[in-house]
Symmetry: C2
Subunit: 443 residues, 2 copies
């Protein structure tokens, strides 16, 4: 490990509460009270002391002030404006100006809200271009939106698949489809980072090509926000949606976010309005005519959950203190590279090109399907277990838990491991690789 | 006060944390550390010890277990099923079977979701019948839904207004419009209890007439749920939406709920699908085909906010222990009747019929615009301050705060006072009336 800088053994922020071996079922570990090896920030980020503190504060103020907290709040965060401190931080994280972002709702709900406004099929231009095997909720959203317009999802939704024997998409294949079918495509919508493979799509070039072809371009940033640097405004992205419970550590089911590019603020008024999107200055005069806040914040429908906002704000403050994306991404690259280098040394590791060129893997092993290029991945590595469909993944996953390693499994054959720059260390990466080795040896 | 049973001076549940005079700006009170007179549960319910405890528990488990809490939860509330204990309690509160209700989203968002599915205008039947001066968010929703169908809101949305000189709607007027215009009306949607006047609409008879006329009938139960007894299933209501931060004490922006009648479960599949509406048994196998949970729960789009659900569950457990709606409503009737009887004794009180028959009120005073009939109101009384438009309301409101009385103001002339059966007492009602008297005397 001498090749790695010693700082990699100190977390970027010590603000986080890390589950202990005893709590997560690490039966093979003797150090029951030590922190487990939590490599699952891609699924549910950990609780920061700051988030906990802010949630407790809001509970206390709800108790001490009741309804008064909406307008007069002893800590100067009146609930009518409880997202005011969140918005600039979200804007910075996604590369947007403050009017382009809003903290609201939940991811799938926001995706529908954006599609309601931005997916406007015509007889000539009606298709939705997306990745094959998008996260199921997104697939259900695309399918049901197409059906709501009376379109047949089969012919409306075009899915780009990996080539035979490959696991991730090639930029040239996506661009080629856009070149060929562009004029019939109404909406291009990919995830920033693919949840299963960990591939970071070339967002800038896809967006550029989509716009050249006259398509609207949206992104599901569930696995990208807080993980990789984003420049939504400069890339000319039309809209984006995300959740905050992964790399942004807002807690299970935390409040989500969305982005609407400035280009649209004049023309694209919120299609399905609610009072929380009405300008604050007159909102409580209860006017019957809707006058939206200009920009993304006009899309708000309801007053947001204060506990959820507080939890998110706490974590964003930690992210800010840690140095935002430059610091996070810098450390993330180092950690993920280190994890990869430990894994490829395993005697059970099979290089991806060998897996692609053969179907004959009788012996248990694994490969990594996440791209190796830094520009094509974030924190996560997706390990594919061999032989596929044999149940090796499940056995290894259970063995890893006993070793105190929390990754996350995706049926049928993948375990995702994501060293998170805020709270993971080089030691976590090393321990995960060693545990994997032991897990295989007991199969 | 001898006419009132002594139990009215003991709250129905001592589970609640009541703001203190010192915290809410009650500068005229010497007993700074005593509980204030909180008559604002119609706007934001108070924090129960139980809600606080459950939120703290979930924070603790997020910290100790991270992502593991989704499936394996030390207190047996795995987050994938975190609404399982909420649903039967909500069902009982609204008079539904468990499959007809779901805890999800936010009120205005749920209203849109329901209108997406249930508002299906045709050239013959396209109108929306609602009350004049519906809560603004609902007005924005109706208007934007009409516009989304290419309809002119002016001719599409029919608002029933009070008669000249009256403040609340007459049942016969609503039924008459339904009789006359029924065949052109697609959707009848009222609030269960009107937020401004406190009128409880005759839900059963409006629903019955709407259904006879072939309309769909939906309800906004923001001010009705947890306040008055509801029988949504038996009344044959098609759908209903509500928030839980008022009489259900879930905290600012708490998670909301909705109802879809069993009649629709076979035919009305969720129009805008998300993975959380997919059957739990196969949800995490990430199938590409959406297979919804039968009933209202199939409408879920995203995983719900665990902190918000915990907070709601805590309060619902208190409501359950207190005896659900029979106990709450029984006490509520007593408290509101008592408050009314104290208020009408005021020398500043003007009977409503005198206000209606004259526009000439030079002297400051007030009337009560909420119906007196028990079957036409819930906990809330709406006080209208005279002369209207003169700013008396604002002065009285500020004076009440100084006396430690928290009601809530609605511009231009109304203060709403709602004794909440769970935590208010007869003394609160008496103190509010006395404070009002003093407030007037210092004008
Ligand atoms: C009757 C009614 N409808 C709708 C709303 C809007 O609520 P939300 O912000 O939860 O969507 C409210 C809020 O107080 C309300 O009282
Ligand atoms: C890529 C992606 N999209 C959508 C979702 C759905 O999220 P939600 O339940 O917050 O709507 C997820 C959840 O993990 C996700 O990873």
């Amino acid at each position: 490990m001498s090749q790695y800088p010693p700082e990699l053994n100190v977390p970027l922020s010590n603000q986080f509460i890390i589950p202990k071996n005893s709590d997560i079922g690490a039966t093979l570990r003797e150090d029951k009270e030590s922190s487990c090896t939590y490599l699952c920030g891609n699924s549910l980020g950990l609780l920061s002391e700051r988030s906990k503190g802010l949630v407790l504060e809001e509970l206390r103020i709800w108790g001490s002030h009741g309804v008064v907290g909406h307008f007069s709040h002893p800590l100067d965060r009146p609930w009518t404006k409880c997202c005011d401190e969140v918005h600039p931080l979200l804007a910075e994280l996604v590369g947007a100006n403050e009017k382009e972002v809003v903290c609201m709702g939940t991811l799938t709900n926001n995706l529908h809200l954006m599609m309601d406004s931005f997916y406007k099929p015509t007889p000539e231009r009606y298709k939705v271009l997306c990745e094959a095997k998008a996260f199921p909720s997104d697939q259900y959203a695309f399918t049901s939106q197409a059906a709501a317009h009376g379109l047949d999802p089969e012919t409306t939704i075009i899915q780009v698949s990996p080539r035979e024997g490959e696991y991730t998409l090639r930029e040239e294949d996506i661009l080629e489809i856009l070149d060929k079918e562009g004029p019939t495509i109404a909406l291009v919508i990919f995830s920033g980072i693919q949840y299963y493979t960990g591939q970071w799509f070339p967002m800038k070039s896809i967006t550029k090509k989509a716009k050249e072809q006259g398509c609207v371009c949206g992104w599901d940033l569930a696995h990208a926000v807080g993980n990789v640097p984003l420049e939504l405004h400069d890339w000319d992205v039309d809209f984006a949606v995300w959740c905050t419970y992964k790399y942004l550590n807002s807690g299970p089911g935390g409040i989500a976010g969305l982005f609407v590019h400035e280009n649209w603020h004049k023309t694209e008024r919120p299609k399905f309005a609610g009072w929380w999107g009405h300008e604050l200055a007159t909102r409580f005069e209860m006017p019957s005519k809707f006058s939206p806040i200009p920009g993304a914040q006009g899309f708000q429908q309801s007053n947001p959950c204060v506990l959820a906002v507080a939890s998110l704000l706490g974590s964003l403050q930690v992210v800010k203190e840690a140095g935002m994306m430059p610091a996070l991404r810098g450390r993330s690259l180092q950690l993920t590279t280190a994890l990869e280098s430990f894994l490829v040394k395993s005697k059970y590791f099979v290089p991806l090109d060998r897996v692609s060129n053969s179907t004959d893997f009788a012996k248990p092993g694994f490969t990594i399907i996440t791209p190796t290029k830094h520009s094509a991945r974030g924190a996560q590595l997706s390990l594919l277990f061999l032989p596929t469909g044999s149940g090796v993944m499940r056995k290894i996953f259970d063995a890893l838990v006993k070793e105190g390693v929390i990754g996350d499994e995706r049926e049928p054959d993948v375990i995702r491991l994501a060293p998170t720059p805020l709270y993971n260390t080089l030691k976590d990466c090393e321990h995960a690789a060693e545990s994997l080795e032991r897990a295989f040896s007991t199969l």
